[in-house]
Amino acid sequence: MTLSVRIIPCLDVTDGRVVKGVNFTDLVDAGDPVEMASLYNLEGADELTFLDISASVVGRETTLDVVRRTAEQVFIPLTVGGGIRSVEDVDRLLRAGADKVSINTSAIARPELIAEIADRFGSQVLVLSVDARRANTDSGFEVTTHGGRESAGLDALAWVEKACALGVGEILLNSMDADGTRAGYDIGMITAVRAVSKVPLIASGGAGSLEDFSAALDAGADALLAASVFHFGIHRIGDVKSYLGKHNYPVRTLAPR
């Protein structure tokens, strides 16, 4: 009876389609979100994350519909992030079928939002998404906004500590330096954030080789999020899990039915 490490494919969704780019630019179409969610579920994904990168109100409505249709056929946890600014936004997503929401920019702008969401729905629904990069701050890591293009003026570790105190249930740590490069997770950053937090930590950004996944776990990650390596078929979820299983990391395997 050991908690398995979680493998989480992330689908960046805009206007009802999955897209993926390198360092948040040069987006290319990667498929239909509901179809991809179902496929990843069958392949053994332990959770799914949708990140709504739509810029418009219409795009957000489309994402709600994607969440609804996915929740009707995929019975694993579904996290949705992007554009969440209020308790009402969270309520809408949970009612559409999301299990968790991730917040980022809106929490930086107004940290009390964390406590408001946690008080209403419990910490377990709330993932703090931190887009961080190496910088000349106290800890050596800073928080960014706008997909890594702008500094939020916050030290990443100080922000994580503050958000945990306000009641986030989980941290999604995305390295903006490593995102989309497939050059490996930022191990130093994972180690540093792990040391200041007691909630589950999802490592994100940079997954390339199979060894990258185990290295992030060794650094203290509880879950591993990846996008491009899965979308473009570089690794199947099953490959990652069998590699980790072979190296004695606890993974959930699907029983034949």
């Binding site: 398995s4 929740a71 019975f75 946890p77 729905f121 419990g122 909630v199 589950p200 509880d222 699907l254």
Partner: protein, 200 residues
Amino acid sequence: MIAILDYGSGNLRSAERAFATAGKDVVVTSDRTVALEAEGLVVPGVGAFAACMNGLSAVDGASIVRERLAKERPTLGICIGMQIMFSQGTEHSAGTPHAGIGIWDGTVSQLDAPILPHMGWNTVEAASTSTLFSGVEGESFYFVHSYAAKKAVGTTQAWSMHGERFLAAVEDGYISATQFHPEKSGTAGLALIKNWVESL
């Protein structure tokens, strides 16, 4: 017909769809009569113990659960919906524990583990006489919680482990409960739901 008790916000859509896969009509309701008369009642739960009890009291949930038990009608609690079946819970209680429905005598308290919540897929150790786990004994189920009951209650127990051993499920005549989310536990969860529905 299966009724899912709606007593606040949260993701009930997944539960509705998951229970529908077992082949019965499913309604999400806060109506006392519907909840009382349903062949099976599901009591879900999100948020903290006390918040959950408050939500329940707004729909007369505790009395629905007790009356169903007296009338020998099956009820299934999920996650916090399991925890509130106990007599008390210590979540955010600062001293005096919050009262639960009290079907089972016991305290729901924080897990002694370095990382909380216990979030993700874990296996369980289920009694061989279990109805719920028939055919899915060795599989993983999805947990999201920081608190749990740690002493045996009911006739049949399943146990899991995060920092310490805790009750993952209880079967006790007309009341059953799971600490994990069967509606979020993939095909294993759907099989467990089917086992419960077929036992009605």
